[in-house]
């Protein structure tokens, strides 16, 4: 606004000096022309009046146009500066909010990361627990199966031995029943009596 008012002032001063500088020439030209013939420009009082009018016009313009314009420009500049200040404040506020958001995002991201890590840890612990439980269960089942197999094997062996022993006993009884003679019976009885005496 200051720059605009300075320019306008220098323009008015320039017009005045031009009018003053040109006045002698215009007077001389008017004198020459008046002596001989009418020229394009005749230096007379009219020129002076016109120059005065110009000055008055400039002064009037300066008084009624320049000052309101200057005021308008100053108000506009103030408005712009205020708007700029507000914009700056808004920008700063937005920047602060953005920083806050960013910080909050960082905090949230950290929390999310911590939660994710905790969740992963818990999942891993649960997985390990389930794995251990599964391993223990499988080992228990395996041990039970082995014990059952062993017991069944023992039972089968015992049963087989018993069956074989029964068969052997039956065969031996049949064989003895057929083959034992009276002499054998007598010898067995005598042996029994001798063994009985030896049991003292």
């Amino acid at each position: 606004m200051a720059r605009v008012s300075g320019w306008f002032r220098w323009a008015a001063v320039g017009c005045f000096l031009t009018a003053v500088g040109l006045a002698p020439a215009l007077v001389e030209a008017a004198a020459e022309g008046g002596s001989e013939e009418q020229g394009i420009i005749n230096l007379n009082i009219t020129i002076l009046i016109q120059a005065l009018n110009l000055i008055i016009l400039i002064l009037l313009l300066s008084r009624f146009l320049y000052n309101p314009l200057k005021q308008f420009m100053a108000d506009r500049a103030a408005g712009i500066e205020r708007a700029l200040a507000e914009a700056k404040l808004a920008r700063e506020s937005a920047a602060r909010a953005q920083e806050e958001y960013r910080a909050q995002i960082v905090v949230t991201q950290r929390e999310v990361g911590a939660l994710r890590e905790q969740a992963q840890r818990e999942v891993e612990e649960e997985r390990q627990r389930l794995l251990r439980a599964s391993r223990e269960e499988s080992q228990r089942l395996l041990a039970e199966a082995r014990a059952a197999i062993e017991a069944e094997t023992k039972r089968a062996r015992a049963s087989l031995r018993e069956e074989v022993a029964t068969l052997i006993l039956a065969a031996a009884e049949r064989l003895l029943g057929r083959s034992l003679t009276g002499e054998d019976q007598k010898r067995l009885a005598e042996q029994y009596v001798r063994d009985l005496g030896g049991k003292n």
Partner: protein, 180 residues
């Protein structure tokens, strides 16, 4: 237990009377013969056990049997007493108790000797002597046969058993085979 106690009371009374008349062994033998007769004759056993038959009829029948068996008066009277008291069914228990009391009174032991085939007399005598040497008491044998023993001898004195039968040896062998 009550029956055993009752049989012992009868046996003790009989022992006292038989000892007085020195008939301990003959009475035992005759009682044994009567028990054997009851074992052999099922109809006779059922007759004496039948509660619907009058007791005097039972006594009449018994008297005929006693006469045929030529039982001595003590045995005859004792059996009649048992019959009239309705205790003839306890006769076997009475006999066992009587034998035990007689053996105790005479300081001797009864050895029940079981074998697959009858033992020779000299073998029985040697066995009896062996047992007497071992036990320090007079021993008499009661010989029995059981072909299931296959061979050898089993002697039972009271609750003690000397088992030398082939059957027992085979059973031991079977146990060893089973144990592996």
């Amino acid at each position: 237990m009550i029956a055993g106690s009752l049989a012992k009371r009868y046996a003790r009374a009989l022992v006292e009377v038989a000892a007085t008349s020195r008939e301990l062994d003959p009475v035992a033998r005759e009682l044994g013969e009567f028990v054997a007769l009851l074992h052999a004759e099922r109809q006779l056993r059922l007759f004496f056990a039948n509660p619907s038959i009058q007791r005097r009829d039972k006594v009449g029948a018994y008297e005929q049997i006693a006469t045929k068996l030529a039982l001595r008066p003590l045995t005859r009277t004792f059996l009649r007493v048992l019959l009239e008291a309705g205790r003839l069914g306890e006769l076997e228990n009475v006999l066992r108790a009587y034998e035990g009391l007689v053996d105790e009174r005479l300081g001797r032991l009864k050895a029940v000797v079981t074998s697959a085939v009858p033992l020779a007399a000299e073998t029985q005598e040697r066995l009896r002597q062996r047992l007497q040497e071992q036990l320090g008491k007079q021993v008499y044998l009661e010989a029995r046969q059981d072909p299931g023993l296959l061979g050898g001898v089993v002697t039972r004195i009271g609750s003690v058993v000397y088992d030398g039968s082939l059957k027992m040896q085979l059973l031991r062998l079977r146990e060893e085979l089973v144990r592996g």
